[in-house]
Point group: C2
Amino acid sequence: MSLVVVGSVAYDGVETPHGKVDRMLGGAATYIALSASYFAPVKIVAVVGDDFAGEDVDLLASRRIDLTGLERVAGGKTFFWAGVYSADMNDRTTLRTDLNVFADFKPKLPESYRDAPYLLLGNIQPALQKSVRAQMHGLKLAGGDTMNYWISDFRSELLDTIAEWDFLLINDSEARMLSGEPNLRRAAARILDLGPRILVIKRGEYGAILFTKNGHFIAPGYLLEEVFDPTGAGDCFAGGFIGYLAGRGIDRAETIDPVELRRAVIYGSVMGSFCCEKFGVDRFRTLTREEIDARYRGFEACTGF
Amino acid sequence: MSLVVVGSVAYDGVETPHGKVDRMLGGAATYIALSASYFAPVKIVAVVGDDFAGEDVDLLASRRIDLTGLERVAGGKTFFWAGVYSADMNDRTTLRTDLNVFADFKPKLPESYRDAPYLLLGNIQPALQKSVRAQMHGLKLAGGDTMNYWISDFRSELLDTIAEWDFLLINDSEARMLSGEPNLRRAAARILDLGPRILVIKRGEYGAILFTKNGHFIAPGYLLEEVFDPTGAGDCFAGGFIGYLAGRGIDRAETIDPVELRRAVIYGSVMGSFCCEKFGVDRFRTLTREEIDARYRGFEACTGF
């Protein structure tokens, strides 16, 4: 069943120890949508300038992503971000952020999106995330991502927003910041009191932890032989996670099967791992569902005991 | 079947965000032996000064650890180390290292130790590790630990030593240094060409990865609600790992059952997690085998999918 994805569509300049690309398709919504598209039909809500290239539209369209909600601002330029990764690729430094048309992004949902049952809100201002959710009816599962800036400077708006979410996906340092608690287990317990029934804490190369009121599930990261570019891996995780649940038609009115949630986390890890294998979104030009399922089985093989 | 453990027995001064202890029992061999003693009979080889306290002897003896090989140097002082941990306890700074009697440690194996089938060599000079192995006959499994100093400054001695080992247990930065390869999967492949058929790469709170020629097994770290003091956790991991294999009578002449190796890694993680729950070795004053097995089952419950 359909998933609406809201967030940034951008151009990125990225340098890693494996190479440098000055300008390529990027943005959270791009990665989330591409990743989720292997599991469920995806509808994107984002804004670009009139510099947005036809070949990038074609890539998204080739994954049958609905672009009705991709607003084009005449005379505007697409969000541009540039950064460089450390030698071990666990840290990165932002070199440039030109918000461009993204600075005035006010997500407008096309009528045809409003009864989609799944919603993933990428990292944008919490009040905008809230306004999107309010435009939808009949949601089965809604949730999203956030970042340190919103946690520290827009705290009350953020708390108000996530109180309505079914799931929250953040990284470990954000979880500590949001909860004020350094220990992840305690941090998670506090965050589950803020509204979301499902919390996924992403730990980069070390995997992710799923928390619900009933316990937790620790998934290690998939061990790649070559990491070319980690940009977008966390967003691909999110896309695989919600995409899997949407594809299975998981209903929030039900008690969600904990096994399905665990599988969703593993599919998230699988999608994050593929993302790192090439620069930017390049891996998605050739990736097949068969490869995804084979890596899922590989995950089982190297984690069972 | 019996396990010989060789390494440091020491006094530690430790400060973590949870408190400070000026002087308490520590040392790699202490932690390894205490941890392994839950699975198999342990015989220790180490050196202390005449300041070594009766109550510390008693703790080791209470776990039925054979102390025949614990040499006491009259007029000497026991190895002392002091350090302070960072706020997140992932880094530590050494404040003081007084090698004392450990500076001249020449491990001498009592006759009664020489036909023990299992040997774990803690982090000491590679040539000494080699000499210990040479004193034993009828070994089923032998291996150990090392550190960055031996990897960089005693490289050829170290390579000569580990060429004879069945297993090597090191952390991720040591694996990268030893192999000259930043990617862990490639690093592991190179290290498996140096002799050991079994490589365990420890990743602190993120768990461990087991590598053999047949593939790898990724175990996440157990998620504690409270980490008081991580000192000794890696050594307790090693003790649980080899202790479990010794207790099961695993023979290196056989093709080792990969399931047993995976279980050994999980028992290692379990023992490392208990170690962090109190300062120094305190958790071992009350820990029972029943608690260990319950946490092993807890590990299964929070990692299966």
